[in-house]
């Protein structure tokens, strides 16, 4: 009996303190947006998810705002330990359980990310001890005055096996070769580069294919170093993600400017924009 009363009392105290805390820092009340967070997502909700999982000791990776494999396993472990359905999706119940079990100091986390610091967010350890000035700090003095800007996630999703640099290099080539072409035409050029990497008769790296002597006119005349735009990057991403409007072409040419007779002898697949694509 006595126990029960004490327990009740304890719970009430708990609730009031939570309430007090919540009213003090209004940012933490409305945790998470209503979305179901899943593998591959990025953004604020992922930052919060990672921070909360780390607070509870499930997540040991960087809080970078991208839902990768580390986050996935951490979430599944959390669901397992808390007796929920283990599906690796942060839905309604999972998020509620997380919010109940952990604290999230949005301001602290965001500030660390904004300042580009190496930091962790484990519960029960003094926060100040979990942050270290980052190496890049020296050159961001010009950024300090816009502290109100939302920090971007410090990582990005990249297709398996590719770096942002590979994408950038391809975007350069695609832009040099086919700016002014319709969007599909750009995806098509990117797809040809990838098809060549796959093909046994061409070099087997992206850089190898692009810089192969006499392969691309834009490389030969230096147009590859023009600043690529967002569209060409988008086109490269689409090609990497599996879109191939050319139907497995490994050559293309502009019928107006093509100088070699040989190229006309290749079996043609189709024309997109100004380019004819062939096998």
């Amino acid at each position: 009996m006595n126990y029960k009363k004490m327990f009740l009392f304890f719970i009430i105290i708990c609730f009031t303190t939570i309430g007090l805390q919540a009213s003090k820092t209004p940012g933490t009340v409305y945790a998470f947006s209503p979305q179901v967070i899943q593998h591959g997502a990025e953004g604020d909700d992922v930052i919060e998810l990672q921070a909360r999982l780390q607070y509870l000791g499930f997540y040991n990776g960087n809080i970078d705002g991208v839902f990768g494999w580390g986050t996935y396993w951490a979430l599944r472990n959390f669901q397992y330990e808390f007796g929920m359905k283990v599906d690796g999706l942060a839905g309604e119940t999972t998020k509620q359980k997380l919010v109940d079990a952990s604290k999230y100091d949005k301001q602290f986390v965001k500030e660390q990310i904004r300042k580009g610091r190496d930091f962790t967010y484990y519960g029960g350890i003094d926060k100040e001890k979990q942050t270290a000035p980052s190496k890049t700090q020296g050159n961001n003095t010009n950024k300090t005055n816009n502290t109100n800007a939302e920090p971007t996630p410090t990582a990005v999703n990249v297709p398996q096996g590719f770096s942002q640099n590979d994408i950038q290099l391809m975007a350069n080539a695609v832009h040099g070769e086919s700016r002014g072409e319709p969007y599909v035409g750009q995806v098509a050029v990117a797809a040809v580069i990838l098809n060549r990497v796959e093909s046994p008769t061409f070099p087997n790296t992206v850089a190898g294919v692009i810089f192969e002597p006499r392969a691309f006119t834009a490389v030969a005349d230096g147009q590859i170093w023009l600043e690529p735009n967002e569209t060409s990057k988008q086109a490269v991403l689409d090609a990497i993600n599996g879109w191939d409007p050319t139907g497995n072409a490994i050559y293309y040419f502009n019928p107006k400017t093509a100088t070699s007779d040989w190229i006309w002898s290749r079996p043609q697949i189709k024309q997109i924009g100004k380019h004819i694509f062939c096998k």
């Binding site: 979305q35 494999w69 640099n165 790296t205 599996g242 409007p245 024309q271």
Partner: protein, 447 residues
């Protein structure tokens, strides 16, 4: 009179010299660009190969069977020698870069020694595994540094020709990012199969199958036009053009394109049955309003609408407010890797931005999937004991020689890395081990 003749001759001579000079200049430029391109190629290949090297070493850590470990070590050995030759082609003769070269050749020596030995009789010792782990970590550091340098090079359009000049000139003041970056790489080192670009094996079938599952009657141009207007969500014919594929195409297609203001779209449709093979819509994407998860529901609904049943989500990713989803064909709980489709959903309003089912239609066929001979437990015993297995599936994949095999697929963790491991469900061969990445530090993040 003579004066005029002289003037004319001189003028012609001058014009000739000017023309000759201009040609020389053009030629010089062309050669400069060519030289520059060779340097660029070596450099970009070097960073790519360091990345591959790191990946392969990481993968070898999770391997268990000798049959897959030996080829992997050979692969690493080959990569180191290629990376070394890349370094050799860079104009770095005056820059101390020998530690990195040494590091590379050390990896090469180590993997060569272990690869040629019969691992069946003499498996890797504990020290050798330790060495591999160290190499993995160190190559990871180098990879990161090189990728950073590469990012700067690409971002600022740096020229290797300038680097060469900067190195050659004794001027200490010249601030050169490439040199500084490479020096950092060198410092790091002092302290301690690219075979397939689409290393994701999804949808890759080494054999080109013959679209045997495309059925239905041939459709006419008009029918194709009607169908594509529905897919593009437009009413009138005005901005639509339709063409037929040439004889080089794998299967006869109608290609339909649409262009109106900021939105343009492109569709490949099979003549037989009028199935959409590939769809791409391009338009500016607004602010993200729906989640990756809701986007997935849209994608699933789209597949259902096009009679692609039994497709199960395989992976989802968000790139610049666009959700990209891969689905695998699922036959009685067995995932078939080669029958893949990809769907792209705009996360501002949920529109379908893209769809490609080329792999699906090319590879899909009636299969007789056998019962596995091994139990899950027996298969698990074949996996490297250090890997903690978290998830398991039954999958049909294409193995190294291009045969479809039934495998147990395990998703497991070793250290901080996640691996996908395929064990043949019939004879227990370790068919494939893959290190899963998919995220990277945002080099361009503004902090």
């Amino acid at each position: 009179m003579i004066r005029w003749i002289l003037i004319t001759i001189l003028a012609i001579g001058l014009a000739g010299v000017a023309f000759w000079g201009y040609q020389e200049h053009q030629e010089k430029n062309a050669i400069l660009i060519q030289a520059e391109n060779t340097y660029q190629r070596s450099f970009h290949e070097l960073s790519y190969r360091m990345d591959m090297l790191n990946d392969k070493i990481g993968t070898s850590l999770a391997m268990n069977s000798k049959q897959s470990l030996s080829p992997q070590l050979v692969e690493i050995w080959r990569l180191t020698s290629e990376a070394l030759s890349d370094v050799g082609q860079l104009p770095l003769s005056l820059l101390p870069f020998n530690k990195t070269e040494e590091f590379l050749s050390n990896i090469g020596d180590f993997t060569y020694r272990t690869a040629v030995r019969d691992l069946e009789k003499e498996p890797l010792t504990n020290e050798e595994t330790k060495t591999l782990e160290n190499l993995y970590e160190q190559s990871g550091d180098i990879k990161k540094e090189l990728r950073q340098v590469q990012h700067v090079v690409l971002d600022n359009n740096l020229r290797w020709m300038d680097v060469q000049l900067a190195i050659a000139s004794t001027d200490k003041q010249s601030d050169n990012t490439i040199i500084d970056g490479l020096k950092t790489v060198e410092k790091k080192v002092e302290g301690y199969t690219e075979s397939n670009v689409n290393s994701g094996l999804i949808g890759t079938s080494s054999e080109e199958h013959s679209y045997q599952f495309l059925d239905g009657d041939m459709i006419s141009k008009d029918e194709a036009l009607e169908k594509s207007k529905k897919l593009f969500e437009i009413k009138n014919n005005a901005d639509v053009t339709i063409t037929e594929s040439g004889k080089g195409a794998d299967i006869p297609l109608y290609s339909v394109s649409y262009r109106n203001g900021e939105k343009n779209a492109y569709l490949d449709m099979s003549k037989q049955g009028g199935k959409p093979i590939s769809l791409l819509v391009n338009r500016p994407i607004g602010k993200e309003k729906i989640s990756l998860n809701e986007g997935q529901k849209k994608a699933e609904a789209f597949l259902k609408k096009h009679q692609l049943d039994n497709m199960a989500i395989f992976q989802s990713n968000e790139f610049n407010n666009v959700g990209v989803y891969s689905f695998l064909y699922n036959e009685d709980g067995v995932r078939v890797y080669s029958d893949a489709v990809e769907v792209k959903v705009a996360l501002d309003n949920g529109d379908i931005l893209g769809f490609t089912a080329r792999n699906y239609y090319m590879n899909h066929s009636k299969r007789d999937i056998p019962e596995p001979k091994l139990s899950v437990k027996e298969a698990k015993d074949k996996v490297n004991p250090d890997v903690k297995i978290n998830e398991q599936f039954l999958s049909v994949i294409d193995n190294d020689i291009g045969d479809e095999v039934l495998t147990y697929e395990f998703l497991g963790v070793l250290g901080n890395e996640t691996y996908r491991i395929f064990i043949n469900a019939m004879d227990g061969t370790e068919e494939k081990v893959e290190k899963l990445g998919g995220t990277e530090i945002n080099f361009a993040a503004n902090f």
